[in-house]
């Protein structure tokens, strides 16, 4: 399978700017991703939701790009959300602790209904280590079960 370039479409929904991503999140996705984020940012102060449902592949460079977006969001106190990740990439987001700084939802509708509750995300941003075990997305039941005693 060859690499798929990233396409991004920004759609403004009530209370949230949705960035629909399609393709791979790897090194060559940097410009597209950053431009889409900038575009979403310009549409108001609403949370930005990254929709990964059409993304098949995220590598470590892609993780770094998402970290970069999170850093931007943090500077401007913007809430960044994610949805549509496969089980595998939810696990990757857990391993990398991105879930501590970014609410992860199964799909766009759950994000839009629950994403308005920004306190959860802010809380996790402020107390990442404590929130690790009790993240909203985990509570939503979309993360693989963790065995106790592993941490």
């Amino acid at each position: 399978m060859s690499a798929q370039h990233l396409e991004a479409r920004v759609r403004h929904e009530p209370g949230v700017a949705v960035v629909e991503l399609r393709g791979d999140i790897a090194a060559f996705a940097e410009d597209t991703l950053n431009a889409a984020y900038t575009e979403a940012e310009q549409q108001g102060a609403d949370p930005i939701l990254l929709n990964f449902s059409q993304v098949q592949y995220i590598n470590s460079t892609g993780i770094a790009l998402i970290v970069g977006l999170l850093a931007r969001a943090r500077k401007t106190r913007r809430q960044l959300l994610a949805c549509g990740l496969s089980q595998h990439y939810i696990e990757i987001f857990q391993i990398t602790r991105l879930v501590d700084f970014m609410n992860v939802f199964p799909d766009e509708s759950s994000a839009r209904s629950k994403g308005q509750i920004s306190s959860g995300a802010q809380q996790s941003t402020h107390h990442p280590h404590h929130s690790n075990h009790h993240h909203q997305a985990t509570d939503a039941g979309h993360l693989p079960h963790r065995q106790p005693g592993k941490h």
């Binding site: 790897a26 590598n59 470590s60 089980q87 857990q94 501590d100 592993k150």
Partner: protein, 574 residues
């Protein structure tokens, strides 16, 4: 009728270069020399010189004149007729001439060089030689000398031609010996590919190679090089080959075989000659290769695009008896290649007098891809290096031994399709991949590894974990190891045992070091105090059960191990 005494040795034996040039035995034989008609019949009739012989055509006994005899200097300083009786010289030659009954000697001098003597015994009439006789003889000598010289040259040339023909004939025999002794065909071994090339620099060479098939299916492989060239080298090569074969049939260990051949050869080999030789025995079923080396060029082994030497120490054969030969053992895995060669390849020069060199041979082996055979590829590269019109300097011999790459093996219940892996008999080869180092190609690696392990029926989650770990390790190998040079592929080997999957990912960046996998400080990254990057190794370590890193001078290998028993827990590193 004058009769010429032949004063020096028979011309037909080639004289040493520093000896006095002997005259033609009978000057009249020379077509250009018309000595006889010049002589008036009665004047110098020396038909009956006093020689104790019954043969009617007998001539006077030969008189040897040493080049440093005072007579030589005398002749050169006093050209003309010399009366031997009257000479007052302390000279063995003068005594010999007197002993032979020579009265007069007339030196034949050509271009300042004494090339012969015209010797005369007493006149038949027993009168002394008259002034007229002497004048005649002197004139005769002056005319005869150049003609005799020409005759000598013609004869020398004929002798040289004969000598050349003799050498040509000897070479033809030697070539025949050699051709008879080199393998006429390559052994056909299932799962293995053998190729050989042999090109002597001259008619016959000192290189040789041999294959010995044992009854139990093992293959003996010999490559050697006899010092010297031509017939002596061919003879020694023939003897060595015979001894090797005889010893190989009786002894199992390559070291013992070389030891035995060395001891026998030492007694037979001409001084200052010796033989370098490598002897290896391959178990075609397991890929086990045992080898010993008597000072021959080290074979090269290519494994996953990486080339290394097969080292074993030992003295060349035939230098001194009682030598021991180190014996080494290795396993050839599917897809691996060994190149045996002689120095004619590595020591070839280009028009700028630059040597091809052993490192370049290693590099070529590493760069070779499967489209053309390795032998053809190396010869093509050699031709490109030396340029057209290259005069081959030394024998070129190449033997390649390749274990065919295993196809993707679907694992049967009892694992009977398994091929073995060194150190652990239960490893099965599932795939060998070669991924060009180009951005994005880690996706090829993850998909192909995914296919290779399909039969193992991993859970979806475990499969995705493995694939991502493979992708990350491949990316590191392409980027940091191979600097994204497409001609430097990343080699990936997928193996499985009863309990574990192993994926070995090898790059060609031996000089780079792989850092320890550290836990990235996400807070620092979000605060933009650190680069957002640096997740690769951390991810790998958290996705598989074990990550092993090994390096050598030319490459790194990251081995990913994943247990087939039970699922790996999600690891976090708080």
């Amino acid at each position: 009728m004058a009769k010429l005494l032949h004063p020096f040795r028979d011309k037909r034996s080639t004289p040493p270069k520093d000896a006095l040039q002997p005259i033609s035995a009978v000057a009249a034989e020379a077509p250009q020399a018309s000595l006889v008609p010049v002589l008036p019949p009665e004047s110098v009739a020396v038909k009956e010189i006093k020689v104790e012989t019954s043969a009617p055509a007998a001539l006077a006994p030969q008189v040897e004149i040493a080049p440093n005899d005072p007579l030589v200097a005398y002749f050169l300083s006093e050209p003309g007729v010399v009366e031997i009786e009257k000479l007052r010289l302390d000279s063995p030659a003068v005594r010999a001439l007197r002993g032979a009954g020579v009265k007069l000697a007339i030196p034949l001098i050509s271009q300042g060089e004494l090339i012969g003597l015209l010797n005369l015994g007493p006149r038949l009439s027993e009168q002394d030689y008259s002034t007229y006789d002497r004048k005649l003889l002197s004139d005769l000598a002056a005319q005869a000398a150049p003609a005799v010289r020409v005759a000598q040259l013609v004869r020398e040339q004929q002798a040289a031609i004969q000598e050349r023909e003799r050498i040509q004939q000897e070479l033809a025999v030697a070539r025949l010996i050699q051709q008879t002794l080199l393998p006429k065909e390559l052994p056909e071994l299932p799962g293995w590919h053998l190729a050989a090339y042999y090109q002597p620099a001259r008619a016959v060479g000192g290189d040789f190679y041999d294959f010995i098939l044992f009854e139990d299916g093992r293959l003996g492989l010999v490559i050697g090089d006899v010092t010297d060239k031509g017939v002596p080298a061919a003879m020694v090569m023939a003897a060595t080959r015979t001894m090797l074969r005889a010893s190989a049939m009786r002894l199992i260990s390559p070291g013992a075989v070389l030891e035995r051949v060395n001891d026998v050869l030492c007694g037979d080999i001409p001084p200052k000659m010796f033989v370098t030789c490598l002897y290896a025995v391959l178990d075609v079923n397991t890929g086990r290769l045992i080898y010993a080396n008597a000072g021959h060029d080290l074979p090269y082994r290519r494994s996953q695009g990486r080339v290394s030497e097969l080292r074993a120490t030992g003295m060349p054969l035939g230098l001194m008896p009682g030598m021991g030969y180190e014996e080494k053992e290795t396993f050839l895995e599917p897809g691996e290649t060994i190149l045996f060669y002689s120095d004619g390849l590595a020591e070839a020069h280009n028009p700028e007098r630059e040597m091809l060199g052993f490192p370049r041979v290693m590099q070529l082996l590493g760069e070779h891809r499967g489209e053309t055979g390795l032998v053809d590829y190396l010869l093509g590269q050699l031709a490109a290096f030396t340029g057209p019109g290259w005069e081959q300097e030394d024998d070129v011999t190449l033997v390649t031994l390749q274990r065919e790459a295993a196809p993707v093996v679907s694992v049967s219940e009892d694992g009977t399709q398994a091929t073995s892996e060194p150190g652990n008999g239960s490893w099965r080869h599932l795939a060998e991949l070669s991924i060009p180092s180009e951005p994005g190609n880690e996706r090829l690696a993850m998909e192909q590894v995914g296919q290779a392990v399909q039969a193992l029926k991993l859970s979806e989650r475990r499969l995705e974990q493995l694939k991502t770990a493979v992708a990350e390790a491949t990316m590191n190998a392409m980027e940091h190891g191979n600097q994204y040079q497409p001609d430097k592929p990343v080699a990936i080997k997928v193996l499985a045992s009863e309990t574990t999957i192993s994926v070995r990912i090898t790059d060609e960046g031996g000089a780079q070091t792989i850092p320890e996998a550290e836990t990235p400080d996400l807070e620092a990254k979000l605060a933009e105090l650190q680069t957002p990057r640096g997740w690769g190794l951390f991810l790998i370590k958290n996705l598989v059960d074990e990550m092993r890193v090994s390096s050598d001078a030319t490459s790194h290998t990251i081995e990913l191990l994943m247990s087939l028993e039970g699922e790996k827990d999600v690891s976090t590193t708080s």
